[in-house]
Every structure is written in structure tokens, then in C-alpha cells.
Symmetry: C2
Amino acid sequence: MNIEQLELTEKRIKIFKALADETRLAILKTLYHSGNELNCTEVGFTCDTSKSNASYHFKTLREAGLIKVRKDGQARYMSIYKETFDQILPGFLDTL
Amino acid sequence: MNIEQLELTEKRIKIFKALADETRLAILKTLYHSGNELNCTEVGFTCDTSKSNASYHFKTLREAGLIKVRKDGQARYMSIYKETFDQILPGFLDTL
DNA sequence: CTTTTAGTTCAAAAGTTATTTAACTATAGA
DNA sequence: TCTATAGTTAAATAACTTTTGAACTAAAAG
């Protein structure tokens, strides 16, 4: 396996790990169906857990490249990182 | 969430967990590119681990519905369970 | 400047998954 | 029947992930 293949494999594994969790799938579903960015508190409500745990899941999704976060004042707005899905899991978002 | 949605979510999580592992991705890659069924020993060689560990990974893939196994005498022949990929991850197999 | 709001980080505990080794089952061949 | 081959299973352990609660940072409002 060459280096790009290895990196692709690592990227895939990170993404699949991030997707292999009910809370994180719920977060993605909420984001995808909302159509636009939401703040952490709003998303946190829908996933029924503590804010520190929600923050942990946001980080996991961010590090897998599945969401992106924009900071504005106190609030952080997150949204689906569509490019990653298109590259690694074409067609998946529409099945959510 | 209704029962079908829940079951779909559980199915997805099982699949993503199964895909979130280097050894199992290697097994799927080998199977997909071979174009036809291979026996456990052949697949085991390509994933560089003990036979019991290979067997553990086969089981994980089987239980996620990602491979199917046909028994013939002593040998077991496995192949990609294409329907599952088509349903849950359309387009993914071709990126492997 | 003090307090509230929004969110992150840290460390410990709890839970889950992967690896290892040895024992096991089932079929095939001598 | 005895032995080899192909693979599974079980139990222990190692490695990893998730949850929790408390302490923290940074911006906004009073």
C-alpha cells in the first residue's frame, strides 16, 4: 500500500468510527435535515446528553471532517461538511 | 423515532463499526477486487493475522451483513454481500 | 468589574472491542 | 480408525471509546 492509500484508509476508519455511534448519527441527521447551520446548544438538545458529552461528540465529528464549525461571538455554528461525504460516502447523506 | 428507523439506525451502526477497522477494510478490499468468492485461508493470508483473529473479523463482517459465506466440505467461501452496500452505502464499494 | 452564557478540556470511571492462546468441531484422506 | 486440514469458540487480557463531573476560557450583558 502506498502512502496515499494508507492515508485514505486512515481517513475512512476515522470517518466510520465517527459514524458508528447513535448520538453522532442523530447529530448529523439533525444538521442535514435542518438545511442550514445550527448552534451547539440547539444540536445538543436533540441528542439528549450533557453539554460536555455533546462537545466530545462534536469534536469526534469535526476531527473526522464530517462537520465544520464557524465561531461567531459566544456561539459556534456547525454544519455538515458535504465535501467529505461526497468523497468518501457518495450517496450516503441522502439515505439519512 | 419509529421502530423501522430505529432498526435502520442499529443496522447502520453495526455496519459502520464493522467498517471502522483496518483489517476488515483489507478483507473487503481483497474480496471486492478478486471479483469472486475466496476461502477463509486465502483471505486470511492477505490480512496478516492469526486464524482465530481472522475468524473473529469474518464474524463481525458476517453479522453486519457485509459478507456472505457458503460452506462446501471443509472450506468456507466468502464474498461481498452487495445488497447491503447498495442499501446503506450506495457508491461506496467502487471507492474501495 | 461581576455575572451569565456558550462551549471546551481534563481526569477518572465505566463500557466496549480487539488480540491471544488453547481447546474444540467437522470434513477429508491415508 | 488415525491424522491432517479448515475453521470456530471461549476465556483472559490489552487497548480503546464513551460517559461523567468539575474546572476552565472567552465573549456578552448588567
